[in-house]
Symmetry: C2
Subunit: 416 residues, 2 copies
């Protein structure tokens, strides 16, 4: 049995514990929703003040040069790259995950269509349980291309091997499932894709900053992801897209805006894509939100994804163990894999009154979230979550369940 004292002892031994001081976390809250919106780096306020007063207010239009606004997507992409197993010049931070997925999927289909040996492929493989917007974007693209592309959705990761076949143009998968926390084997699936002649496109929304990634080493073809979850970039901060050096020359995407032009200030009426990763850009980016992404990356630069992963697995192991020890009499079902290699940085449990229980937890200061059907989702962010937090969260959960202190008539909010 694990005690609170054990948890406190682990905190004393935790090399990441000091990083918590770099985040602004409200008093009385145990925040287990960093997989939805990362907490605020304290530095973000001063950074915003600087961008707003000095760069926008004082230097005004000159800041496109003097503050490097125009290069910000590339400069921040280069800072993010090491967390992804990507090289300098392979990542930009720009637009939204949905828009970047559209670019990447369109480019992947085009790469296949322009290869006579692969041009007949018309299937996009994904999972029915993928984050819905990924499926929506694929549906939108397929319908507009009107060339017979169809989505083949599997119901279990086990079916991917068979589904990714000689008809498959692209496997479009989210590396860590938003609901279950299941983590795919990126290298094995990418390798299977290539053996079948397909390309592997990965959504890293729940992976970047959460688990070690080695995009190049895994042989992935394209990737997109989000900066406002584990990367702590701020609400809705711009997303990223990765195009490896091996594919950049043939990467073409339909959102061909001026930031992706070879000579954006020549004002040529004809589009010519920039060399390198810049061709994944489109239009002018929201500079204040974009600049704040750096505050999160600055904290990652003080540790390593390996250290983060060690603590993440320890936190989720302890959480699972404590829930199973202390809430054993309640109908909780573990959804997240116990196997480390298959687990992201979240833990999900079902409960028949999952929504109501989560509302009660939030009212008591333990912030997780709820996803249909019946899933309580708890995200663990090693940069600012302690082992004592885990103990205290489970203790509050136990108390709520033991005393049935939740309103089974609770209705879902519009959002979250």
């Amino acid at each position: 049995m694990i005690s609170r004292h054990d948890c406190s002892a682990r905190d004393l031994d935790d090399p990441l514990a000091p990083l918590r001081q770099q985040f602004d976390l409200p008093q009385g809250v145990i925040y287990l929703d960093g997989n939805s919106l990362g907490a605020r780096p304290k530095a973000a306020l001063a950074r915003a003040q600087h961008v707003i007063t000095a760069e926008w207010g004082t230097d005004l239009i000159r800041s496109w040069n003097t503050a490097g606004w125009f290069d910000l997507p590339k400069r921040l992409g280069d800072r993010l790259a090491p967390l992804l197993g990507a090289q300098t010049g392979e990542v930009v931070i720009t637009d939204t995950t949905s828009v970047n997925l559209f670019k990447a999927l369109a480019a992947a289909l085009q790469m296949q269509a322009s290869d006579p040996a692969q041009a007949a492929r018309r299937v996009i493989v994904s999972e029915r349980s993928n984050f819905p917007t990924d499926l929506y974007m694929a549906q939108g693209l397929a319908a507009w291309l009107d060339r017979g592309y169809q989505l083949r959705l599997v119901d279990s990761p086990d079916e991917l091997g068979q589904a990714i076949d000689a008809d498959c143009a692209v496997a479009m998968l989210t590396h860590v499932n938003y609901r279950t926390g299941y983590q795919h084997d990126m290298a094995a699936i990418s390798s299977h894709c290539h053996a079948q002649g397909a390309l592997a496109l990965w959504d890293l929304a729940h992976s970047a900053g959460a688990v070690p990634l080695d995009l190049n080493g895994a042989g992935a073809d394209l990737a997109v992801g989000c900066t406002y979850k584990y990367l702590n970039g701020g609400p809705g901060s711009p997303a990223f897209i990765w195009v490896p050096a091996k594919h950049q020359a043939r990467f073409r995407q339909p959102l061909s805006g001026w930031w992706g032009h070879a000579t954006p200030f020549a004002m040529d009426p004809g589009f010519a894509p920039a060399d390198g990763i810049a061709r994944a850009l489109c239009g002018t980016q929201p500079i204040v939100s974009l600049a704040l992404v750096e505050c999160g990356l600055d904290i990652f630069a003080q540790t390593s994804m390996e250290a983060i992963r060690r603590k993440s697995l320890a936190l989720t192991d302890v959480f699972i163990a404590l829930v199973e020890q202390r809430c054993a009499s309640h109908p909780l079902g573990l959804v997240t894999p116990r196997e480390h290699a298959r687990r992201g940085s979240q833990v999900s449990f079902t409960h028949p009154h999952g929504y109501a229980v989560m509302q009660a937890l939030i009212a008591r200061g333990v912030i997780g979230d709820y996803r249909e059907p019946a899933i309580m989702r708890f995200g663990f962010t090693p940069l600012y979550t302690s082992f004592a937090d885990v103990w205290d969260a489970v203790e509050i959960l136990r108390d709520i369940l033991d005393t049935q202190s939740y309103d089974i008539a609770a209705k879902r909010d519009a959002v979250t």
Copy 2:
């Protein structure tokens, strides 16, 4: 002849003069580049602090509900709508102008393709002098659709009448030209489009907040635009898209992300577009940059576009007159129409050493910008530009030209 005293007297009579106090403008600068990046509303700093500390930092994920983040694109769109001659529920602030143009153009082509009487049309009419990214996005869309769509570019507004013909699916025009300041007759061109069976899609990047607009009255079909120029939303602040009530039911666009879904939190794997303007949304928006847009709109709410237009025309009239009076011996060529109805809120002059002269102006604190070929561009923003500013700017221009105090070997910066 106009004197500085005349200018000061006009400032004393100017009902908009007090609004300048709501902007943070650096000492010693006459800012005539609000057509590229609007100045900073003083309120933007406190608003950013609130969003970052209270909404992100303290309320965290709950702010999607409590701070109304999810509804922000619609709520701000409704606040912008009156400046455009649009109705409540017809505008959202989201994504970039380029991305919104892609959505709008795709939707317009689809509307035509689904009408048997118009389905054969394959021509998109625009101007060669349009802002290049608009042409790039149209090229990208046309190439990816691969259904024979072609861009027909005219070299002069006079040619539009003939170019918009029975083959034309959509006329995609920027209402006020970014380089010349030429303003199209939106009602006449939209009407001509309809008479020919075409749709009229307008880019309002240099119109919104600059000139009175009556989208519904003019019979326009779709519009997009930018909030970081005359609307003072901040660097790269999210753009807008207008879909009139009359077209919403058949408006479909390929960037079908979860924010445009009928039930975004049901997590349904199939896309179904939301009713109304929400179907123009796609992915999660950059909340800090988006929230700052409201600070600019708050200032517009204290006056009217008619009052702004009166002062804009007075400022540009005085600027043209003063340049022609005081710099008459220099080879300056007025590019912007003298006719009020054809003029936006900027004035452009050519000069053989336009780039060098503009650099000398900027070094003396008069910030305009330069556009190829040989064009010096001066934007006039009635919310914070005074008649005395106009006098002083022309006086500095005169001095630079009279004394040839510019470096004809000056090389262009990477950006601006």
